[in-house]
């Protein structure tokens, strides 16, 4: 689509046309005066006034002249502090290539590159006539041939408007850049060869019309839409309810904690058994353990793996103590081992705190194999050959395998019973996976309540892996019910039961609060803000 070519001055008002004409005449006169002045100044600058030079400058000049007459200009330039480098002073004519000059001498070979560059720069500066910033430049620019100019400095040819993608035909035909033209306005007034600004600004014409339609496929549009939705949802400001919820939430936390503490503490202080006891038929896995222990012969070696973490010792104690008590009543020979560094100490603490009066414990008729380092590999090694497993120092010093109760033990299957006492499900799984292949019968497990869901998957499998399970306070209380021997598990039971009741109440009331009271309030706020 072509646009009719016309003179833009036709559209200008008379006063603006008059002003343009005056500016052009004034600029031409100024350019002529400046050209004459700079020519005079350049001739004066080429004759160094020796009499005006200070002594130190004359000394420098003399020294440089002694080095060679060609270095006059360099000597002079050395005295100029940080003279600015101007693009318009750079010589644009390229000297003819001389092979001899191009070949580097020995001296130049030894010189670093940065020194050569500095010399080149000096040469450029000295070759220019900085005393006359305009006059010779103009002359040199006139002398330049068109093919020596860079493309962006060359005046546009007649075909340029067609080849220029931004040329819409509304501009006047005068070239965009004329090296000889002198700037006549603004801070660059008087300079030649500057890029013209005013004509661009003053030109009136229709702006080009570009298409804003993106060429994208439907799939790209859909992806962009998804991305836009994602970003929009991220940048959406949400109302901060923290300030409104903080205080009630903290108050609720205190209330819940107080209720739980009261529920736990009151039965302990009261000392009376009030909560209903667990029924025997509710935990068949506990009954299986009871039957397994109750049929043990007196003096049977029982391996007790005591893998209990310190933090859960209090809970595991409630479950393990009734079972250990049962084993001691059956006069079983207890052999303790642990893959936890704290395990042997905790096992010793359990025996001394709860069974110090039992003859087998009082007479130290039990064995601690100590800490079994090495994790899974050590468990496998111990299950394959217990006697060659690397046991810890107490076991080494006391030589446990030489004791009478362990004389018959050659493999892990020789133990009458293997009892795992664990606080973490993963510890139990390690023993179940690595030791059961060496066992012809299953293991018995005492665990914390949090490990119980994982361990229930191993109950009643074929082949047998876990034959009996007592988990948590409820498991301990149930086991004591089976034995008809109430000790501290029953004291714990009341406290545990009341805490459970409070927890259920809190969950129910919390759900009610969230659904009935809190959520509608938030919804109303959202409506108001909308």
């Amino acid at each position: 689509m072509s646009t009719p070519h016309h003179n833009p001055d036709e559209n200008l008002p008379d006063w603006l046309r008059e002003l343009r004409r005056k500016q052009s005449e004034q600029a031409a006169e100024d350019a002529a005066e400046q050209a004459a002045a700079s020519a005079n100044a350049s001739t004066e600058a080429n004759e160094p006034a020796a009499e005006q030079e200070p002594d130190w400058l004359a000394e420098i000049r003399k020294r440089h002249q002694a080095d060679g007459g060609d270095s006059d200009e360099r000597a002079l330039s050395d005295t100029q502090p940080n003279r600015p480098f101007r693009l318009d002073s750079r010589p644009l004519n390229i000297p003819a290539f001389d092979a001899e000059e191009a070949a580097p001498s020995d001296e130049t070979k030894a010189r670093p590159e940065w020194l050569d560059e500095a010399d080149d720069e000096d040469e450029i500066q000295t070759e220019s006539d900085y005393a006359s910033p305009f006059g010779d430049d103009i002359d040199e620019a006139e002398e330049l041939e068109a093919n020596e100019l860079p493309s962006w400095l060359q005046p546009p040819s007649e075909s340029s408007p067609k080849t220029n993608p931004f040329y819409m035909g509304d501009f006047d035909d005068e070239p965009m850049l004329t090296p000889a033209e002198v700037e006549n306005a603004g801070p660059l007034a008087g300079l030649s060869g500057v890029l013209p600004a005013e004509p661009e600004v003053a030109k009136i014409g229709r702006s080009p019309v570009f298409s804003t339609r993106l060429e994208v496929s439907e799939s790209q549009r859909r992806h962009a839409s998804v991305l836009h939705t994602l970003i929009a949802s991220e940048t959406e400001t949400r109302e901060d309810f923290a300030s409104t919820v903080k205080r009630p939430a903290r108050l609720l936390n205190w209330l819940m904690a107080g209720a739980m503490l009261l529920a736990a503490l009151l039965p302990l202080l009261n000392g009376q058994l009030a909560a209903p006891r667990p029924e025997a038929q509710h935990l068949p896995e506990g009954a299986a353990m009871f039957n397994g222990i109750d049929t043990l012969p007196a003096g049977a070696p029982v391996l007790v793996v005591f893998d209990v973490q310190t933090a859960l010792y209090g809970e595991v104690r409630a479950a393990a103590s009734p079972v250990i008590s049962h084993l001691l009543d059956r006069q079983a020979r207890l052999i303790f081992i642990s893959t936890q560094p704290t395990g042997p100490a905790l096992a010793e603490r359990l025996l001394q705190s709860d069974f110090a009066q039992v003859p087998l414990v009082a007479s130290n008729d039990y064995i601690s194999l100590g800490y079994l380092p090495g994790g899974m590999a050590a468990v496998r090694s111990f299950a394959s050959d217990p006697r060659s497993a690397p046991l810890s120092a107490p076991a080494t010093f006391t030589q446990p395998w030489q004791r009478a109760s362990l004389q018959a033990i050659q493999s892990v299957d020789d133990f009458a019973l293997v009892l795992l006492v664990v606080s973490e499900g993963e510890d139990a799984r390690m023993w179940l996976e690595q030791a059961t292949p060496e066992l012809s019968k299953g293991l018995m497990v005492v665990s914390s309540a949090q490990a119980a869901p994982l361990l229930r998957a191993y109950l009643n499998m074929q082949p047998s892996i876990v034959d009996g399970l007592v988990a948590g306070v409820s498991g301990g209380a149930h086991y004591e019910r089976l034995r008809a021997k109430e000790t501290f598990s029953f004291i714990y039971w009341d406290s545990y039961s009341y805490q459970l009741g409070v927890a259920i109440l809190v969950i129910l009331l919390g759900g009610l609060y969230g659904r009935v009271i809190h959520t509608p309030g938030q919804a109303n706020k959202a409506k108001v803000s909308a």
């Binding site: 310190t310 949090q450 306070v473």
Partner: protein, 242 residues
């Protein structure tokens, strides 16, 4: 010299104080709670380190070396002791980045043995037995017995239990099936049957997670009861109430 009884009393008092400070977290985080937390972590790490030195490094490595150097013989076989010493030294090279590559063989052995044991144990001890147990979802023998004995309610219960177990297994597996058929320019969509089963599976997964969470809650309640009983016993004993 402090007597053991006094040390025990000091230990009990410290334990009671630490318990109370830990419980004070109900009122929010504070510097004393953090101090106690750091003491717990430091004590646990220090104890584990001491056990490792006293029960493992000294009797398994240092004492045999000393014995070998002093007497020329050791309770441990020389070849086995050399292997222990060599692997230990190789592991020690991991302390410096420059020599760390020399420890790679020992580390590779540890990782390789651990991985082999874990995979073998999981297959043999967990996956295969549980797959076998899943294949016996319906207790057909029990069902026949109940049917022959006229216990129709029991027989229906066995069937229902089996069906629920089967549904739980299939729907949970369907929940983790993320395959979907492409529909040209429209978003891929799962098969409607898989979608329905996955919805049911999400319910069973939620029940499983709730069970695990309840186990953690039960453990916490048991631990809290034990700590409160400890405080009650201590106060009673200090008050002379026995």
């Amino acid at each position: 010299m402090i007597s053991p009884e006094l040390l025990t009393q000091i230990g009990l008092l410290l334990a009671a104080a630490f318990t109370l400070v830990t419980l004070s977290y109900i009122f929010g985080d504070h510097p004393i709670f953090r101090l106690v937390l750091h003491i717990f972590i430091g004590a646990a790490a220090g104890y584990a380190g001491a056990i490792a030195v006293q029960d493992v490094i000294l009797p398994q490595l240092v004492f045999p070396a000393v014995e070998l150097a002093m007497n020329g013989v050791s309770a441990i076989d020389t070849v086995e002791f050399s292997i222990r010493l060599g692997l230990s030294l190789l592991l020690l090279t991991k302390l410096s980045p420059r020599t760390a590559r020399f420890g790679n063989p020992a580390t590779a052995m540890l990782v390789g043995v651990g991985a082999a044991l874990a995979i073998g144990g999981a297959l043999q001890g967990t996956l295969l037995p549980q797959i076998a147990a899943s294949a016996q979802t319906f207790d057909l023998a029990g069902f026949n017995l109940a049917l022959q004995g006229g216990y129709y309610g029991e027989s229906i219960s066995i069937i229902l239990q089996g069906m629920i177990a089967l549904l739980a297994m299939i729907s949970t597996l369907a929940y983790f099936h993320f395959g979907a058929e492409g529909r040209g320019k429209q978003a891929p969509l799962r098969n409607i049957l898989v979608d329905v089963l996955a919805w049911a599976g999400s319910i069973f997964i939620a029940i499983t997670l709730a069970t695990l969470f309840s186990g953690v809650l039960f453990s916490g309640m048991g631990a809290l009861t034990e700590r409160l009983d400890f405080l009650r016993s201590l106060i009673t004993s200090m008050g002379g109430g026995g």
